[in-house]
Amino acid sequence: MIERHVFTCRELVELVTEYEEGALATEERLAFEHHVAICPPCRGYLAQLRRTIRLGEAVRDDELPEPLRAALIDAFRDWRRASGR
């Protein structure tokens, strides 16, 4: 049985980013952690959000299309020539 918390689940999901960014006051943070410790759906939500954040790193692809890169280098050479460097 879930006892009455300082935050409802609905309120808690709105505090997740503040919690993750260390922006909650100590008392709020403790209430948040207490709630999460005894509330499986909120624990699930927090886990989902953390995996969502981690997935962000995986959508990074670290190369420019070669024609764009080449065009940028050409532009740099033009600029260098035009500005007499």
């Binding site: 689940c9 499986p40 699930g44 995996r51 990074r60 940028l72």
Partner: protein
């Protein structure tokens, strides 16, 4: 939201000042180094403003031209990276003006749809979840990182208003600090956090819809 705290700022590092001096001398290696370091992220950010891939590449090109032309005026009061992204944002927004996104911001107001919780009138469970929330612990890492899941992430990202999508991209995809994103966008830490919160919540919801279908 009213917030009176001053904007955090990140100034140019020594390494950036050295790089800048090389650039001003016309050192091509310095330029390609900078393009390789920031170009891919710039292209990702440009695509959040303009949907067309070719137009996004033009935005990146125009931004770099503006960077080169303004190089002598850069004073190092922000980091070089922030300055480059300010220029990119200006170019991208101008190009995107005719391509206004259709997502009403009102829809972004709560992290989770309200029908997932018992209503305020419920005698015992007001504000509690009406459903279980799976922690995705049983979703294999392989599926979570699969191309299709990443495609869902990108799709959800592209449906966000650009302001939200840019913040999420810089923070969670590119790994920028909160201070640098605030400096770039002229936001207070608190405002940035609200926008990031809503953006993450939207992506999470999209992934939940996708991952909780049976594996094909």
């Amino acid at each position: 939201m009213v917030d009176t705290q001053t904007l955090p700022s990140v100034t140019a590092t020594d390494a950036e000042r050295t790089l800048l001096a090389e650039l001003r001398l016309g050192n091509e290696d310095a330029f390609t180094g900078l393009v390789d370091a920031h170009g891919p992220a710039m292209l990702r950010v440009a695509r959040l403003y303009v949907r067309d891939a070719a137009v996004a590449e033009e935005v990146v090109q125009e931004a770099w031209l503006n960077v080169l032309r303004s190089l002598d005026r850069f004073e190092g009061r922000s980091s070089l990276r922030t300055w480059i992204f300010v220029i990119l944002g200006n170019v991208a927004r101008r190009r995107a003006e005719r391509e206004a996104r259709s997502v009403p911001v009102g829809e972004l107001e709560s992290a989770v749809e309200s029908d997932r919780f018992f209503g305020p009138e419920h005698p015992r469970w007001a504000g509690a979840w009406t459903t279980l929330v799976d922690s995705w612990q049983d979703v294999p890492e392989r599926r979570l990182l699969a191309g299709e899941t990443r495609a869902k992430f990108r799709e959800a990202l592209s449906e966000l208003p650009p302001r939200y999508a840019v913040i999420l991209t810089l923070r969670d995809v590119e790994g920028w600090s909160s201070d640098e994103v605030c400096g770039l966008l002229g936001l207070s830490t608190a405002n940035q956090r609200v926008l990031l919160h809503r953006a993450r919540a939207r992506i999470r919801a999209a992934l939940e819809r996708y991952l909780e279908q049976d594996e094909p």
